[in-house]
Amino acid sequence: MTGQDQTAANFSLNGISVSLGALDHNTTLLNFIRASGLTGTKEGCSEGDCGACTVAVLTPDASGKPKYQAVNACLMLAGMAVGLEVWTSEGIGQPEALHAVQAAMSSAGGSQCGYCTPGFVMSMFSETYADHLEFDEAALVGNLCRCTGYRPIREAAHALPKPKANDPFFERLNTSSVSKSAFSVNGFHRPDHLPEALRLLETLPNARMIAGGTDMALEITTAFKRFENLISLEGIPELLEIREVEGFLEIGAGVSLSRLETELRGRVPLLDELWTWFASRQIRNRATLGGNLGTASPIGDAPVVLLALEAQLVLSSIQGERTVPLSDYFLGYRKTLLRTFELIKTIRIPIENLGTINPAHELASKQYLQAMYKIAKRGHDDISTVMAAFHLEMENNLVTKARLAFGGVAAIPIRALETEKTLIGQVWNRVAIDKAKKVLALEFKPISDARASASYRARIIPNLLEKFWLENTGVNA
């Protein structure tokens, strides 16, 4: 199924079937849409930060049921839309026949210059068809508006009625037959099982795997790289599973972050907290844990939480599989022990570390303390200046286990092993914390960059431990 079958490379754009044809596979969905004459979808940054390019993609969810997702068209490659439906602001309504979302935005004063508006409209559109009742404001954090100050947009969003049963876009949720089936055109390949992906990775020249593309597409739009062969991981069932087996929560490397956000809600408190501060809804709809680990950025957020949870990685290649602790995975600045032609298949977290109430532990008078802190110039949708995730276990008020993980403090996401050692066996009190803070202050040598100075980072590293302490029993102790 991976021949150069160009006829299969179609998707629906505002209800009309379009073909990729001989298109360069490095072309973004945004450029494809705009070149087709639909200029309502705007480019404000081409790096996923402004949301002006937001479109709604009707895509199968984990069970195969269609679902609207807001995405940044600037960070999607046109090939990623194959088999799906793409909707833009022009497609959901016209000036004389506005969609409910459009009507709400226009009458509320939700547009001034109007440049951000189509993007907001499509974020709102996707959110109104979501299956929860309340409008979740998080759906709009990835759309920047420089004019309105957001208040009317927020009010328009909250006043939106839920769609009626005969709403044609609502009906599509039941009638549409979108799928991420296998295809291959030009240099873009979407295999539908793992062995095929691994084979392509080895055999195609200069092949790179791409999951959500929220890091990879940036290389195309801002560093102007062009990839010869891209292997999409989106259609591989082995990478899309979430399950609990043999004491581990196993997360497929290709699962999108927003799927984790909804499916694991309440199961992994540290991850629940993370999503609030991780990028935007549009990005989380596409981004994956595999990609976050694959990028191996020293300021990636998920690795920090996963280090605190003592996660393991299952790596897979044609040679077979191996499981490694995440703490061994990062070797140096953007260097990992991943071999060429090897990919991350699964992220495994010991269930006992998840932090959700475990009756067995309660009985053993065990206590769990967990927290994560993301420090950034702007609270939401910003890259971390420093990121920390802590996991502490105590028995009878003595610290038995400590995992203090940090991002943005070294060339890799890293645990403060020295500090952890000073805490273990100690009573959880002011004396122990002060001692640990002193060790922690010396454990890393952070650097200065456009986000913050080294001195600031150095000061908040121990402060975060202080905060953790004060928030957990320290206040009155």
């Binding site: 002006a52 004063g109 420090i375 609270g379």
Partner: protein, 766 residues
């Protein structure tokens, strides 16, 4: 139905929400070419060699535009002719040295990447203090003096200090864009995302070496301007025109976000050095203030911007003895330019910072000291500004008291104190700050506007005026003014894209003056036409013409009614002219720059805001809990639009003062040239409780339909956020809160450490 005063939605709202509103960059033409710059990699250098041959070899590259391609004057400067479009003198990092013109963006970029200029590297001047040390200025210093500040300062309690207020990128969502082509006549047509079509036309014309009548500029609508397209759209329009002339094909110049942020000027960083004198109650006696603005490499509008900072260094306060000096530093960064408030915000941040410090020195709450120093209409000598303008209608007292009550200021103050006493590391703070902002271009001759109104014989109306639409709702208000004046429904009015071939010699849409000036000009044209129609209608209705009224699409006399279109058709048949120009010049304003005296403003806009914040003293992270605003828009022509301006301005100002940080490295390279590192507020950053009201019964006799300008003033309402942060920080003690602007988490943590150290010192010295 009344048109003026109604909160009708933006005239393009339905086009915005359906993605059918076109912007300059959306316009497509057959065979259009695109452009990409070759950028300098040093902040200051001489280009020794610029070999373009390699670029021309790239498939798809059509030509490369270099300095010698310029047939006319090599300059795009707005005020002073000090801005070559292309030059071998590198004046800032990233400067465009040549532009590759190609069939596709990829080809243009590939071509540009192949040009490797050779440089002689020179030492750049970076930062305000270095410019001061090197005496590097664009102009002679400006000064305004009242009384004897220096003598008084010798006799009274004084404080001295320095505050550096950071700049701000406009971050209009639509980057700079132009499209130029030769028309059937061999003349140049330029579509430009510009706030100043007439100047864009002038710049294009002199770069081409043509008379202006051979150049037409159209500004359809902008995806945001905020001052960033007042003068700085010009180079890209000139470049597109130059390339179109050379290739004889349409050329589009649309900057990517990165390049836009690297090439365009920003809000001026300004350094204030002051000495302030006050009495035991906190009443200001004298102020000596020097304001140094980082002007960047060329003058641009910097002198007028520094003037406005100087005009507004009093904010709403009467300062009996005041010397303010203004300096425009010349440095090797982008040429800083107009940005909503035009220097006013920096001046006001300075005085608010000073007053907060004075209040702490006399151990009073800042709002008490602020109030104590307000201009006072009832006192003979306390309502004249330092430049000698009498303020006839001081509205701050009323606004202040109303807002304090509606925001429950005093009770919340107590709640905050209790919270702070009980929480180990979260601290809250609250502040109320005023805004007084002078309305008019301070360059007097700019205060003029023209209009051209056309009535077609079917009764439909086209309105042309010199103002541009950038989201501020100008065209909506203009349509309301025209409809109201002609007595017709809004549907009958079409406001046309702004074009230099309809209204010539216009001023920029800037200084918040868009509606005041253009609205008055349109009103004037409509009144002329209405009067003509009154005569026609009077004949038809057989009544005296002064008894005819036009309303709701009818000419009315007592019980008789005639459809507007019938009157229009009759006028046409009677050979009555159905089109008219309109004109407006703001009366009475004047200013003498050398003397530092005059009445530069037609009136003042007022407002106040209360903000409450919470900071995490361990990390410096913070959030805005609540804001309350009461703002004076006069009798609002469109409350929906005006409220939007108030809220949008406030949030933009909050971004400037808190999270939007411009970082240049030691080599003069801007490090924050993308939204991944330059953070503007998101929806999650606005307060959950956000109460915004417009001052009721606020008629401003001096402006069109009793309204007031609203574009810029609300930005400065955001100073309450900064002052609230300082209030929270002050809960750690100390007499002065030294908070950098912008107050990033890092700056907040620094400020906390400073006050803690100071508090410790105080304790130790006891």
């Amino acid at each position: 139905m009344k048109a003026v005063g109604m909160g009708v939605a933006h005239e393009s709202a339905k086009l915005h929400v359906t993605g059918t509103a076109k912007y300059t960059g959306d316009l497509d033409m057959l065979d259009v070419l695109v452009a990409y710059p070759v950028q300098a990699i040093h902040a200051r250098a001489r280009v020794l060699k610029l070999d373009i041959a390699a670029a021309l070899e790239v498939a798809g590259v059509v030509t490369v535009i270099v300095e010698s391609d310029i047939p006319g004057e090599n300059n795009t400067g707005a005020v002073k002719h000090d801005e070559p479009l292309l030059s071998s003198d590198v004046m800032y990092h990233g400067q465009a040295l040549a532009w590759v013109i190609a069939e596709t963006d990829d080809a243009a970029r590939a071509g540009a990447a192949r040009i490797k200029p050779q440089y002689e590297i020179l030492e750049p001047i970076l930062g305000i203090q270095n410019a001061i040390n090197a005496h590097s200025y664009h102009t002679e210093p400006l000064r305004i003096l009242r009384g004897n500040p220096d003598t008084i300062l010798e006799k009274t309690t004084t404080l001295e200090g320095e505050i550096l207020v950071g700049g701000q990128d406009h971050f209009y969502l639509e980057t700079q864009a132009s499209l130029a082509f030769l028309d059937e006549d061999g003349c140049m047509v330029v579509h430009s995302s510009t706030q100043h079509p007439s100047e864009t036309q002038a710049v294009v014309a002199h770069v081409l070496g043509w008379a202006r009548h051979k150049v037409s500029v159209q500004a359809l609508r902008m995806g945001g301007g905020f001052g960033g397209k007042e003068s700085q759209a010009n180079p890209y329009a000139a470049l597109a025109a130059l390339a179109a002339l050379k290739t004889r094909r349409p050329v589009r110049v649309r900057l990517t976000r990165h390049i836009d942020m690297q090439l365009t000027g920003k809000r001026h960083p300004m350094l204030g050095k002051y000495r302030v004198g006050f009495d035991v109650t906190g009443k200001l006696e004298a102020l000596h203030l020097e304001i140094y603005a980082d002007g960047g490499w060329s003058l641009d509008l910097s002198e007028a911007i520094v003037s406005r900072a100087m005009f507004h260094c009093d904010n709403a306060y009467f300062i009996p003895n005041l010397m303010v000096k203004g300096f425009v530093c010349k440095t090797n960064v982008t040429s800083h330019t107009a940005f909503r408030g035009f220097g006013g915000p920096q001046g006001m941040v300075l005085i608010e910072d000073i007053l907060d410090r004075v209040a702490r020195a006399v151990k009073k709450r800042p709002e008490v000291v602020r109030e104590l120093n307000f201009y006072n209409e009832n006192s003979l000598d306390q309502h004249t500004t330092h430049y000698g303008q009498t303020i006839s209608d001081v509205r701050i007292g009323n606004i202040w008291n109303t807002l304090k009550t509606s925001s429950d200021f005093e009770n919340r103050q107590l709640e905050i104190e209790n919270f702070n006493a009980s929480h180990p590391f979260l601290k809250r703070g609250m502040a109320i700050t005023p805004v007084k902002f002078g309305i008019s271009f301070t360059t007097t001759f700019l205060n003029q506007a023209g209009a051209l109104v056309l009535i077609y014989s079917d009764g439909s109306v086209q309105v042309n005026h010199g103002g541009t639409e950038m989201g501020q709702g100008l065209h909506t208000k203009i349509a309301q003014i025209a409809a109201q004046t002609l007595g017709v429904n809004l549907e009958r009015i079409r406001v046309m894209p702004t074009r230099t071939d309809k209204v010539p010699n216009t001023s920029a849409t800037a200084a918040s003056s868009g509606t005041d000036l253009n609205g008055a000009a349109v009103k004037n044209a409509c009144e002329i036409l209405r009067e003509r129609l009154e005569h026609v209608a009077a004949e038809m209705l057989k009544c005296p013409s002064d008894e005819v009224r036009f309303e709701n699409g009818f000419a009315v006399h007592l019980k008789q009614k005639l459809e507007f279109e019938k009157v229009v058709m009759k006028a046409y048949l009677e050979r009555v002219s159905l089109f008219s120009t309109g004109f407006f010049r703001t009366p009475e304003i004047h200013y003498d720059k050398v003397a530092g005296r005059g009445e530069p403003f037609r009136y003042f806009a007022w407002g106040a805001s209360v903000s409450e914040v919470e900071i995490d003293s361990l990390t410096g992270m913070w959030h805005l809990r609540r804001s309350d605003i009461l703002h004076d828009c006069g009798d609002s022509i469109n409350p929906l639009v005006d409220r939007g301006q108030v809220e949008g301005g406030f949030v933009q100002g909050m971004g400037w003062l808190t999270m939007e940080e411009l970082v240049w490295d030691d080599t003069g390279k801007l490090r924050t040239f993308a939204p991944s590192t330059y953070k503007i507020p998101t929806l999650a950053d606005i307060p959950l409780e956000f109460h915004v009201s417009l001052l009721p019964r606020a008629t401003e006799e001096k402006a069109v339909f009793g309204s007031k300008a609203v574009g810029e003033p609300p930005l400065m309402l955001a100073i309450s956020v900064r002052e609230a942060l300082k209030d929270a920080i002050s809960s750690f003690g100390g007499l002065e809160v030294k908070l950098a602007a912008p107050s990033t988490p890092e700056a907040i943590l620094d400020a906390i450490e400073i006050v803690k150290d100071a508090a410790r010192e105080i304790v130790m010295s006891l």
